[in-house]
Symmetry: none
Subunit: 194 residues, 4 copies
DNA sequence: AATGAATGAGGGTTCATTCAT
DNA sequence: CATGAATGAACCCTCATTCAT
């Protein structure tokens, strides 16, 4: 499982890589510092040398996830010209991320560490919405998308993608998601095209 | 907020009602027995009189949620004849539940207490899938739905509904969901109809 | 060693009795909750059931010491009429307390738990001063004490008494202090009489 | 605040100067090596290069305090001929030290680091007593002091001086102590003269 | 001589659970 | 049935100390 976020070369990187996996698998509160220490093959002291507290570690991790997600979206989705291309690219992005680093995507979809985010939103519900709304606004302006309530269009685009990712993460879809990218994009398009 | 599950007349009911709210708001592990005692205005002894342990309380709650959800689905969704009616009924069910008891729906969508469910699936990913798959299988057999990969159709139907519920729960949609039921059903239908 | 403060009948009492001894012997910071648990023959949980934290336990103890000290002073010293009688009573009080409960007196003289008192004064330097100053003001008004700087008189009275208590506590005086009460009072009187 | 003990020119000096201040302000156990490092503007490595452990650092400091105190007493108090002169010189010594380096005097009066001194005596109760007892023995032999119990005389002389120093250190006397030296000596003398 | 990353024992504290009343 | 005082394992975190650089 390649690590999107951190290198395992450094102690700090190993701790962050262990933390995201454990936070996703067990949740923030169930994950103990000893868990992280065992998984990252470091020591209690090393963890506290690099992060002032467990909360601070979670905050740092959360910021890195957001930053990496936005970087990828800005690089592969937003530059495209048409709404359909952008939707396709967004599907491709999340589907390929799912296969490349399922912990990263699981974190995007589900993590809402209340110690980190006070509005209790997941990355997908806060930063992900920005991407979707941008696709919708632009697509409507160009007449590519039908004149539907924004929230409905947002629910359609992000809901279908996220649900398929979830089914894959939960093991209810066993084949790699990119093989379903065409069909997924087609279904979304049927629901949102002008 | 009417309680779908339990009556607050009985001690046992008050405990379960407090538990689902606290579990949803804070998570199972952060919720302490003292929290539940304070919220339900009972006593430690009373909790342990009615439930053998915190885990058992969580298990009991989970079973009640599943049972109530399936009861409602079997009552309002499955009896209907056409795929479109069933989809509409499913939308109506989840949207009205969201307004009636947001804790109940939040539990359906997000709760995966590892102490209770070992496959780590939410009620929506386990029991909800059954409902969706039933709609799909029947709708395909009758030629009402297009001949698409089942997992795509499942993702479309459940994904759009769940995403809109989530946006409402997260405060990103402020109006009551039932006002969006028509448009939601329409969007789903565009994506899945034959 | 009779306990001036607390009864050892109750768990709470045993904890406080152990705490004052350990705080005096080792200091607040070196004294651990396990130390207190072992000495009071209770349990960690019992300590935290009765006191919300180690700091709160220290605060509670400090207040009890102050209250008991002031009660004794108000009962045995202040009611007396002449300055000489009061000085004699103050000597008697501290000397007899020293033999009765050396931990109590050692706490009076030396304890300055910064977690409890922000001005960093011992009970003797805060509450004890009140008693001494009262003796001085009244004795001067009646012409029994010589017209000397108040701080000098305060230093003489409290300094001589406290130093002898300290020498006894440190084992540099081995006989019971009350046998030295006459001579001590005489020396103080020579320095302060009109 | 001139440093009586150590020069801040050397790393070793800066460490010792920081240590005495921190030990007096917070106590030995609350003072951490990082505290000392920050205050002395050195590094962890430097501290452990110069001292084998925190205990060893405390021991070294304690020895320097004792040595400096005895040096000053032997230089300014003991050479004098009469008891009254010696008492006056002792008062002057402690009062001027208090103004010159309050940390040094506070250490003399209060520090009893159990890691350093196993009999749990302060410098004033161990080395200070020697000075006082010398004054008493000699003054009695010469008939300058009255024939009173040695411990009483010791309590009078050291008690009055130490108490005034304490009141000054605690901020309850705000003017420089040397202005009270005459009156202090006079009061002591009234209590001890033949 | 100097540095500071790494170590882990041991601190204060929480909380599920028990049981005498 | 109901209560809450008592228990102790296990949490997060601190800090004296080591050692490679």
């Amino acid at each position: 499982m390649p690590e999107l976020l951190t290198t395992t070369d450094t102690v700090r990187g190993r701790i962050l890589a262990s933390a995201i996996q454990l936070f996703v698998d067990q949740g923030y509160h169930v994950t103990t510092i000893p868990d992280i220490v065992a998984s990252s093959k470091t020591s209690i002291g090393a963890v506290y040398h690099h992060f002032s507290s467990k909360e601070e570690l979670a905050r740092e991790l959360h910021q890195q996830v957001i930053q990496e997600f936005m970087r990828q979206a800005e690089e592969s989705v937003l530059p495209l010209a048409s709404a359909k291309d952008r939707i396709r690219a967004y599907v491709d992005l999340l589907f390929s991320l799912t296969e490349k680093d399922s912990y990263f995507v699981a974190y995007l979809l589900h993590a809402r560490p209340r110690v980190v985010v006070d509005d209790n939103l997941t990355v997908c519900s806060r930063e992900g919405i920005e991407v979707t709304n941008h696709i919708i606004a632009d697509g409507k302006a160009k007449g590519e998308l039908r004149d539907e309530d924004d929230r409905i269009l947002c629910g359609v685009i992000s809901g279908i993608i996220m649900r398929l990712v979830d089914l894959r993460l939960d093991g209810l879809i066993v084949e790699p998601l990119p093989t379903l990218a065409d069909k997924t994009t087609d279904s979304i398009w049927r629901a949102v095209r002008a």
